[in-house]
């Protein structure tokens, strides 16, 4: 009797064993078999409401356009790309919440997005802890070196280092620097000052920083008028930038001082009207870039979104970020964080700004272009193109 039971039990366990072996072989068959059924989920985290919605909306459209292009060409190594969209409400606290939601609930493989440095730092704490790749598409002050965070936005050696010497040669050697009161303007101001002084120029007064929603800049304008610099280097952003530059124009200071900035592009120029004329800006991309690739990009984008009028470098950075992210996932062949981290460096993409690539320091080799606003419609005409510049990073945050 006992032997019969033992035999039955043995057969039962043999059955389990065979089942387990068969199951493991099916499940263990790497990503190839399983993955071809599962789409690549990419989280798009940007500001759809709040003060940065002006940038966030176009960023989303560019991400959706990239998504369409990728899927039209067959997806990512046979897998469909699926975007999961979340609104960070221009608030870093919400950004943290939504990043967690994207990672834990939606199980995205990559997050692309964030505009301000505050948002990037907030989201970065979540993605690094949860080991999810994060692609940041906005120009910033540089120095953010965290594993798993890749940047498709310009940094000072690309955006400022060619710009300041150009200004000193073509506009003047005396500078007045003012910006919004947070990390990007403060770190960028340090770079500007160092470049100015190295070339024998002078920053005529200590840098000034203004809290958000300063409505009246007349005191600053008064001080600039007394100092009479050749260059007003503005590091104010968003609506503060527009308010200041309008008041600067209204006081007639543009007659004696030229406004140069790395914080004004198509979106701000649209709000400036005639106050924008003559402003010189430095970005890795301008909509007026006259290349076949850019024309192809804009035509396709406008066909998909006819009401979108203006694409700035932040939106183009987002478009590039989605494509670069997709290329990295295809190259890695898996969603494993370590494999993805190794896959990003070397990824090349034919962006609207030109051919860009990811360097070993987790930043991208990007274009460096200077443009001038030429009319009251916010049109920026390119006056100097330095070409694609590799990123030089000194990690400090």
């Amino acid at each position: 009797m006992a032997k019969a039971i033992e035999r039955r039990q043995a057969l039962k366990y043999l059955g389990y064993g065979l089942g387990a072996a068969a199951g493991t072989s099916v499940l263990g068959f790497p990503s190839v078999l399983r993955a071809s059924k599962h789409p690549v989920k990419m989280g798009i985290l940007t500001s759809l409401t709040g003060v940065h919605a002006i940038f966030g909306e176009t960023m989303l459209r560019c991400a959706q356009f990239a998504h369409k292009e990728i899927n039209d060409k067959g997806g990512i190594a046979g897998r469909k790309l699926e975007l999961v969209i979340e609104d960070d409400e221009s608030d870093p606290k919400v950004g943290i919440e939504k990043a967690r939601k994207l990672i834990k609930r939606e199980k995205v493989e990559v997050i692309v997005g964030a505009i301000s440095s505050a948002m990037r730092n907030a989201v970065g704490t979540v993605t690094t802890k949860e080991k999810t790749v994060f692609v940041y598409p906005t120009y910033y002050e540089g120095g953010y070196c965290h594993e798993g965070v890749f940047v498709t936005g310009a940094i000072p050696n690309q955006q400022i280092e060619p710009f300041v010497p150009w200004i000193m040669e073509n506009v003047g050697k005396t500078f007045y620097i003012a910006g919004s009161d947070y990390i990007w303007p403060k770190e960028t101001a340090k770079v500007v000052r160092a470049l100015v002084e190295k070339q024998g120029g002078q920053v005529v007064a200590p840098e000034e920083y203004f809290p958000w929603n300063t409505g009246d800049f007349s005191s600053l304008v008064n001080r600039v008028a007394r100092a009479k610099p050749a260059v007003m280097y503005s590091l104010l952003i968003g609506s503060d930038s527009v308010t200041f530059l309008k008041q600067f124009h209204n006081f007639g200071l543009k007659k004696t001082t030229r406004v140069c900035t790395s914080g004004v592009a198509e979106k701000e120029a649209a709000g400036l009207g005639e106050a924008g004329v003559g402003i010189v800006s430095s970005q890795s991309y301008f909509m007026t870039l006259d290349t076949p690739r850019n024309k192809e990009f804009l035509d396709g984008f406008r066909r998909m979104f006819p009401t979108e009028k203006v694409v700035d470098s932040i939106a183009e950075g987002m478009y590039n970020g989605v494509h670069v992210g997709a290329l990295a996932v295809a190259k890695a062949g898996t969603s494993d964080w370590n494999a993805l981290n190794k896959a990003f460096p070397g990824v090349r993409f034919n962006a609207p700004q030109g051919e860009i690539w990811m360097a070993d320091n987790r930043h991208a080799a990007l274009n460096s272009i200077i443009a001038e606003c030429v009319n009251d419609k916010g049109e920026l005409r390119i006056i100097k193109n330095f070409g694609v510049t590799p990123p030089k990073v000194t990690c400090f945050q």
Partner: protein, 285 residues
């Protein structure tokens, strides 16, 4: 930095800021003082005035036409809001707070749908300097000061020299008694709300060349108006003048000498001290 021209310019900067604060706050003060309603959509009424100028420009009209239309458009809109929402909530301050906040969100999204989320611009109506004895100052800022003075005079005239004003003051003192004296209090509330809204719209239209016009822009003006009204005291028109004077002059004076962040913080500290010792504000209503 302390030369005569710099000081004169800074003095005029202060005067302009005071005038601007009066323009921004007057509508809120009147509605709050007379009806007792805290209109959290006040900032949106303000920016609707700016958007009227933008719309007028988009239709090919002159900037001054836009400025003239703004109080009419926003005043009518305010009237509709009063009849549709505020009228049902007179004795319920918390509900009006909620209702007007909800209204502010709705207006912001409507603006975004109609005008888009991007910043908008329109031509400057009066660019140039006024030069007196070799000292020049933007003529539009002088115009803003004049406009503010005109608004104060008109408001004072209406409230203290007209029949309408007598009725308004009666309602402000005791609405039930006023109603018993055959004053159509409901109609007066409508006119007051419409008038306050019209003032907000006019302020927004006048300020268009000096501010960023975006759907979210109204919020910071609500904050500023609130600050001035609370500090100055509700219920008396002079309250707005007092609040604007203190905030405007102090902020301009300080921000010339020290960093903007510290200056704005100091203004807040001074306001807190004033409210601590005079909770009713500078001028009692």
């Amino acid at each position: 930095m302390f030369e005569l021209e710099a000081i004169l310019t800074q003095f005029l900067n202060g005067a302009t800021l005071v005038s601007v604060l009066i323009l921004i706050s007057m509508g809120l003060a009147i509605i709050f003082g007379v009806i007792g309603v805290i209109n959290l959509a006040h900032g949106e009424f303000f920016i609707l005035g700016s958007y009227t100028v933008i719309a007028a420009d988009a239709l090919g009209l002159n900037a001054w036409v836009g400025i003239a239309l703004a109080p009419v458009v926003v005043g009518v809109f305010g009237g509709l809001v009063e009849r549709g929402i505020i009228r049902f909530l007179y004795a319920r301050p918390l509900e009006t707070l909620l209702a007007t906040w909800g209204l502010s969100i709705v207006i912001r999204q409507l603006i975004r749908i109609v005008f888009g989320v991007s910043y908008r611009a329109s031509p400057h109506p009066l660019l140039g300097d006024l030069t007196v004895f070799g000292f020049s100052y933007p003529i539009y800022r002088v115009f803003l000061m004049t406009a503010s003075l005109a608004v104060i005079l008109v408001a004072f005239y209406i409230f203290y020299r007209t029949d309408f004003g007598v009725k308004i003051r009666a309602i402000t003192q005791d609405v039930e008694m006023a109603s018993a004296l055959a004053i159509n209090t409901s109609r007066m509330y409508l006119y007051t709300f419409a008038f306050g809204s019209a003032l907000a719209g006019l302020a927004g239209a006048l300020m268009t060349p000096e501010i960023t016009v975006s759907p979210e822009a109204g919020l910071s003006f609500l904050a500023r108006a609130f600050f001035v009204v609370i500090l100055g005291g509700i219920g008396h028109l002079a309250g707005v003048l007092g609040g604007a004077l203190v905030v405007g002059e102090l902020e301009t004076f300080l921000s010339y000498l020290i960093s903007a962040t510290t200056a704005q913080a100091l203004v807040l500290v001074v306001a807190i001290i004033i409210i601590r010792y005079r909770p009713q504000g500078l001028f009692r209503g």
